[in-house]
Subunit: 224 residues, 2 copies
DNA sequence: CTTCTTATTGATCATGCGATCAACAAGAAA
DNA sequence: TTTCTTGTTGATCGCATGATCAATAAGAAG
């Protein structure tokens, strides 16, 4: 049983294809690698596919090392969720900053969130709602990220009220409502794409009715 | 090791508390028992808590028996989902039948679905959306039940158009949209109850905007 | 070169899952 | 009563999970 010695020798000989031991890295580097791998897995296969062995395999490392860098798998899952969702929030929020009027910003918000290019993130949201039932750390992150989203929407709605473009007495609730609608419609699209035409414009009209905006004021120019 | 013989004797002696072997039942009876137990587990702990051992324990039966009555656990999960959701659809649909006008029916639909008394069913929906990714039988049931819901809503919307109470060119899409909104808002309530007031009336106004109904025509009499 | 810190390994444990099936026994039929 | 159908058992297999930790070796420090 000098098997161990042999494989060690093999390793030093065939350098490229089979790596027997992962290169030593800075804790910060390795932690980032692990977080990135977990992130990719979540977007491709869902949050529940984040396992010690799964992540370790993607990084090319022993499963124990993943555990070494994370207090718990639940914490890793929560962290991945927060990272994915926070990035989306900031990205979309940034898109709005350049637009002059609240109507345009709200219209862009709806258009962007409903264009179907973020369904992978929607899947993460939906799974997190369920997983949060058994992962307290994740549940906390979910609430936090929902609040962040709500704040973005509320800011737009309040600006619209101030500018006289919208007319509603309860911006916070309306913001929650808009978010809920968007989430629900996207979750639906996760399962059923067909049968619904003009998803974006239907929602725009619904939101117009809710914020008291003029008909078609939230639609992109020239669209229906 | 006459343990077996002993416990058998024990059984015949202490009749009430410890049942060593489950009473023999009709296949139909037993199958119903198992389905009911699985249903309860799903509503209390989620669809993913439906396991052979979990269900067997609740029925008071060996795990093998559950497997004996179901081709696969995935099928059991799909069946439980369909049963729970179909019951809700029929129940709510029945509620609408007694109402005279489409506006009242749509208003009642929104009010009923948003009153928070069906959050356990919402949790089932949300979990099914995610689980359907890895359970094809479940995914098929989800699509089927979504279609059933959509048909109920579409019928109301079309009746409203015919009666001149609503004004929209695309009843099917609007029906999908309403469902998506309701689901999203309920899923949101699963995680966050606070912060949102008048969920029902906000949604009612949004739907009014979407179906082209008069302001407040979907609100319950005297409410806001 | 040698020394020493520490990143990394991989076997291991306890637990849970779905599925399978020979063996058992309850209760109807003879 | 005895016979026989069949509902029921529970051990068992293979696989997957999270967590733990002594042992290893890479690579900086001396």
């Amino acid at each position: 049983m000098i098997n161990k010695k042999e494989t060690t020798l093999d390793c030093s000989v065939m350098s490229s294809t089979i790596q027997k031991r992962a290169a030593r890295k800075t804790p910060a580097e390795r932690a980032a690698e692990i977080a990135d791998a977990a992130r990719e897995i979540a977007l491709e296969q869902g949050l529940s596919a984040i396992t010690l062995r799964n992540v370790a395999a993607r990084v090319g490392v022993a499963s124990g090392l993943v555990a070494h860098y994370q207090p718990t798998v639940d914490a890793l899952v929560a962290g991945v969720f927060a990272a994915i969702v926070a990035e989306e929030t900031e990205e979309v929020s940034g898109l709005l900053d350049g637009l002059p009027t609240p109507s345009e910003r709200l219209g862009m918000l709806l258009e962007t969130l409903m264009d179907g290019s973020r369904l992978d993130v929607t899947a993460i949201w939906v799974e997190a709602w369920t997983l949060g039932r058994r992962n307290e750390a994740l549940a906390a992150c979910v609430r936090e990220q929902m609040d962040a989203w709500q704040a973005v929407v509320q800011r737009v709605v309040e600006a619209g009220i101030e500018a006289g473009e919208f007319e509603t007495s309860d911006a916070p609730s309306v913001a929650w409502q808009i978010l809920g609608m968007v989430d629900g419609l996207n979750a639906q699209a996760l399962v059923r794409w067909d049968g619904v035409s003009n998803r974006g414009s239907h929602l725009a009209h619904a939101v117009e009715g809710m914020v008291g905006a003029a008909r078609d004021s939230l639609l992109p120019a020239g669209g229906d």
